[in-house]
Symmetry: C2
Subunit: 269 residues, 2 copies
């Protein structure tokens, strides 16, 4: 993990539009072949959740959804299509507020506006839900890619998020396989030999943010970025994304007072 | 800005320990020469705020600081050295809560724990304040580098931040020069030709997050990363980092209710 002359390369992998039922690994293999890229040990594949979700059949036709009373109320409150709000309620673990256009939820353990449901890059009248189990998806894809290319790889299913009081989207890792997503730097020292105060590095999130420089949010059809040379710790497993509690979070720790008022379970009433 | 076969390279620039009064551009020039790297049009330099702040004489000896009453109270409340808390109060625009070890502030327009004051990578008994004016620092450095290498460059002064409910630090841009820090994707379409819902890309923040993959937080002495090939929009100015209001922020919009209780102006009473 030395940073002496460290360098990283990132390659955007352009693909055809990915549709329900597509085999995303086959699509990647073909795209890699066309680009002349051959994966090597330590390469990390960052995949857009929308592409993975679509391939896994997570596109939902809004016309098929009947919103419950609460979905109608909340949709009204946040200016969200009640049918989409219904899906938000079904998908999320918890919902605790929002702003116009976005209900703030925790979904699959991650803070996600509108339960991560995305209308962009879905056909007209459809939305795409997050992959059912991003960690498992990343693991399946990694195993198949590793077998195909006979090397040790990492895979991330990534998404976009805003940060507090910032304009614009950064990256967030929903599920990872093959490397350590958050590096624990406790026990290491600063340039003066003093123990570090900032102790964790969000390696997986940073990889997604880096990949988003190439991926874009728009119709660029680059649902995958291959990152080469990143100083990550490879492991032959799919670590859970470590989380912190609301109480331990700098932003939520003692500033959320209204949470209990807005909280609902996310289940239909 | 096509992403066809887009690729990005990042190079860590290793330097000696940077001390007060050092000329950071001279240090970079020497380090680049030793690494054999020659900047080209469109290269972005991501610089750690601690290195820039140190060179600019922003190291403060804690023994020279006398905390006011409020600094003692808040230091006590959040478990922060009252002398450092005094500096937090002097540096920040606003403070509105915190968790053990971190007072949550807005400083130079940016959400920053402890006003961005850093004890890591400072000599024993010292802390380093944020650069006085990160935007101006980035502009000065860019102008000198552009003159030296006769090409158009971008410069970012970057820092580390946690994200809500996430473990580990990502990157944030405090000041930029030479390129557009947040890309406005409104008017572009998704892969199905529909207008995009997510409309802004945090390009500068993502570049810092990418750089942090190499920089690390520890004693790696890589205070600079050169990013080559990033699809950014170069401009011959130093754009302000666009901000959003608390009311418009998904996280702060309607979940912070206790803010008024904890709010103080950040000035000594």
């Amino acid at each position: 993990m030395s940073s002496e002359n460290a360098s990283i390369q990132m390659f955007g992998i352009k693909t055809p539009i990915i549709r329900e039922g597509d085999d995303i690994v086959q699509i990647l293999e073909k795209a890699l072949e066309e680009s002349g890229l051959v994966p090597v040990d330590g390469d990390i594949f960052v995949l857009a959740e929308s592409a993975v979700g679509t391939a896994e059949g997570r596109e939902v036709k809004l016309a098929d959804i009947t919103p419950c009373r609460r979905a109608k109320e909340l949709g009204d409150q946040y200016g969200i299509d009640p049918r989409e709000m219904e899906l938000v309620l079904q998908e999320c673990d918890e919902i605790f507020g929002g702003v116009p256009g976005a209900a703030l939820t925790i979904t699959k353990g991650v803070l996600a506006p509108n339960a991560g449901i995305d209308a962009s890059n879905s056909p007209e009248g459809y939305v795409t839900l997050l992959p059912e189990d991003p960690r498992k998806s990343s693991e399946n894809i990694r195993h198949r890619l590793e077998q195909r290319y006979s090397c040790r790889l990492g895979v991330i299913i990534g998404d976009s998020r805003t940060q507090p009081l910032r304009l614009g989207c950064s990256g967030i890792a929903l599920g990872v396989s093959g490397f350590v997503p958050v590096e624990d730097a406790r026990g290491t020292n600063d340039i003066y030999g003093k123990p570090l105060r900032i102790t964790y590095k969000a390696v997986a999130d940073n990889l997604v943010s880096a990949a988003e420089l190439i991926m874009g949010e728009a119709g660029e059809r680059v649902p995958c970025v291959l990152v080469r040379g990143a100083p990550v710790s490879m492991v032959n497993e799919s670590p859970e994304m470590p989380t912190i509690s609301m109480e331990g979070c700098m932003y939520f720790g003692n500033v959320i007072r209204g949470r209990a008022d807005n909280k609902c379970t996310g289940k239909n009433d």
